[in-house]
Symmetry: C2
Subunit: 340 residues, 2 copies
C-alpha cells in the first residue's frame, strides 16, 4: 500500500473526507450532509471522526503524510482561523485549525476551497502539463485560485484570486462587495438565478417563468437544461456569463500570459452553452492571445475533477507541507552534521 | 571605484546610455536624439560607440558586470529580436542582440522598456521595500511590468504585463489592438490628446480649443497644465484616465493582492490631477483593498525615477544576469570539485 494523505472539503452542502494516495488515487471517501449537523462544533467533531476512521483503515499499510482541510470563505492563514464564510452561516472567527489539531492531537493544513480546487486540478486534472494556471470556481459566487510556477499565489494578505470581483461593467448591477458590475453578478449562480426570476419579457420568458413555477428549488442546472433545449431567455443569461468570464480571461492573458485558464465549480456544467462566448470575447479582447499560434496559445477549458478538485487539492496541500517539512528537517540535519 | 554595468534605454525620442554602479548610483549618462540618426543600423552603431566610451572610462577602476539594453515593443526574448515597435518605426524583426554583440564582441542582455522600468523602480525607486509590484508605464500607449517575488514575470510567451489592453468599458472606443474600451483608450497620451482635440462643447471646451490652436505640438503636459489651472474639459479627460487606471488597479488587487502598484511614464506627470480618481475607484471596486487596514494595505503611488527607470533597470538586468552566471559557474565548480 502506498503512503497517503487525508483531504477534507467542507462545503455549504456536504462535508467530504477522503484518503488519497501519493499518485492521486482516491482510496475512500466519506460524505456527510452538513445541514443536519447544524453547529460548527458538531461539524468539526464529525470531520475528526471521519479522519480518524480513514487513518485507522489505511495506516497499517502506508504512512499518513498529513491532513489538509479546504473550507470556503476568508481565512486568516497565519492563525488558521475562518474569519467568515458566505456558505457556512454562523461560522465567524472559528479557530478551525486549532480545534481540529486539539481533537486529533496532530497538525493539519488549512486553506480556502478555491485554492485547494486549483491545486487539485494542477496536480491531477486539467493542469497536469503546465507550471502556471488560473482557475475560476463558479458556485453561488465566483471564486478562483492562481498557481504560478507550481505554487499557489496567495498575495500579500492571502486574498489573491478573487476574479468574481473584477469589474466587468463599470456601471453594472450592484454587488454585495460594494462594487458595481462585478463578474460575479453575471457568472455566479445567485446572480444567474436572480436574472432568471427577473426575466418576464422577451423570447422564451414565458416558458422560463412556467419552469420556475413548476420546479421547486429551481437551480442553475435546471436553467442550463432549459438553455440546452433552446430556450432563448435561459441561453441569453448564459451568454452574458460567458462574455463576463471571457472579458476577465482576456484581461488575465494580457496581464499574466499564463498557459491555462480553467472554469470549474457547479455552474461550469453550463460549459457547452457559455464557452463559445468566452472564446469570442478572448479572441476580441486579447491581442496577446491572438498573437500566439493556435497550437501554442493559452488553453481555456473546463475543470476535469468536477466537485472533487478541492478534496484532492486538500490532500495534496498536506503532502506538500509534509515534503516541505522533510526538506527543512534534512537541511537542519545538514547544518547539524556540518557542525559536528 | 565600484563595479558597474552599462544600461541602455532606446526610446522613440532619445537613445540614452549610462554607466551605473552596483549601488544604483548613476556615474555618467550619454543622451543622443534618435530622429537625426534615422536608420536602425546607425542607431545601433551609435549605441555601441557610447557603450565603448563609458566602458573605457570606468573599466580601469571597477569591473564591468555587463550590458543591458531596454527597447520598446514586442521582443522575441529567446532570439533577442525586436519583432516590431510602435515607437521605432521601421524596426521590424531587427536582431538587436546579435548586432550589438557582433559590434562589441561581448554578450548583452535585452528586454523591453516596461520590464526594465519596473525593475529599476523595484531596485532603487518606489519598490525598494517590497518583493512584488506592478508598474504602469503611461506613454503614447499604456504598458506595464510585473515583479513577483523579486523577478520579472514575463509569462508563457514573454507578453505578460499589458495592462493597457485590459478592458475598461466593454463597448468603449475602438483600440488599435482590435478590442474596444481598452485602458489605453483612456490613459494613454495618444487617446488623451485625441479626446482633447475632439472636445468641442461643454465647460472649458472653448478655452481648450484656443490652447490647442495656440500651442504647436500640444502635449499631455500642456493639457495637464490647463487642468491644473482649473480647466474643466482638461480635468475631465484626466478624471476618465484616473477612473480607468483605478478600475484596473482594483482588478489587480482582487486578482493578485500585491503590496504595490506604481504609475510611471510621461503621462504620470498628471498624477495630482488624476490620482484622486484612482483611489476613488480602488476604494469602490476592491473589497480586498478595503478589508486591509490603511497602515498595511496595498500602496498606490507614482514612480520615483522619472524617465530614468528604464535606464537603471537595463543596468540592473545586466547585473542580475552576471550574478546568475556566476552562481551557475560556482555550482559547476561544486560539481567539478565533487567529482575530483
Amino acid at each position: 500500500m502506498p503512503n497517503f494523505a487525508i483531504g477534507v472539503d467542507l462545503g455549504g452542502t456536504n462535508l467530504r473526507v477522503a484518503a488519497v494516495d501519493e499518485s492521486g488515487e482516491l482510496m475512500k471517501k466519506i460524505t456527510t450532509p452538513v445541514k443536519p449537523l447544524r453547529h460548527s462544533e458538531l461539524i468539526i467533531a464529525t470531520m475528526c471522526a471521519d479522519i480518524r476512521e480513514l487513518t485507522r483503515t489505511y495506516e497499517s499499510a502506508g504512512r499518513l503524510l498529513g491532513i489538509g482541510i479546504a473550507i470556503p470563505g476568508i481565512i486568516d492563514m497565519a492563525a488558521g482561523v475562518l474569519r467568515e464564510s458566505p456558505n457556512l452561516p454562523g461560522w465567524q472567527n472559528v479557530p478551525v485549525r486549532e480545534e481540529v489539531e486539539r481533537l486529533l492531537g496532530t497538525t493539519v493544513v488549512l486553506d480556502n476551497d478555491a485554492n485547494a480546487a486549483v491545486l487539485g486540478e494542477y496536480w491531477i486534472g486539467s493542469g497536469r502539463e503546465v507550471e502556471s494556471m488560473f482557475m475560476f470556481t463558479l458556485g453561488t459566487g465566483v471564486g478562483g485560485g492562481l498557481i504560478l510556477n507550481g505554487s499557489i499565489w496567495r498575495g500579500m494578505t492571502g486574498m489573491a484570486g478573487e476574479p468574481g470581483h473584477m469589474t466587468f461593467l463599470p456601471d453594472g448591477p450592484p454587488c454585495a462587495c460594494g462594487n458595481n458590475g462585478c463578474v460575479e453578478q453575471f457568472a455566479g449562480a445567485s446572480a444567474i438565478l436572480r436574472k432568471a426570476r427577473q426575466c418576464t419579457t422577451g423570447p422564451g420568458a414565458r416558458e422560463l417563468m412556467a419552469e420556475l413555477r413548476k420546479i421547486p428549488d429551481f437551480s442553475g442546472q435546471d436553467l442550463f437544461s432549459l438553455a440546452a433545449q433552446g430556450n432563448k431567455a435561459a441561453a441569453g443569461i448564459f451568454e452574458e456569463a460567458g462574455r463576463a468570464l471571457g472579458t476577465s480571461v482576456a484581461a488575465m492573458i494580457n496581464l499574466l500570459d499564463l498557459p491555462l485558464y480553467v472554469i470549474g465549480g457547479g455552474v461550469a456544467g453550463g460549459w457547452d452553452i457559455f464557452s463559445p462566448f468566452i472564446f469570442e470575447e478572448v479572441e476580441r479582447r486579447s491581442f496577446v492571445y491572438r498573437s500566439q499560434s493556435p497550437a501554442t496559445r493559452a488553453k481555456i477549458t473546463h475543470a476535469l475533477l468536477g466537485g472533487d478538485g478541492g478534496l484532492f487539492g486538500a490532500a495534496r496541500l498536506a503532502m506538500l507541507a509534509a515534503a516541505e517539512g522533510t526538506n527543512r528537517a534534512l537541511q537542519n540535519d545538514d547544518v547539524a552534521s556540518a557542525a559536528t
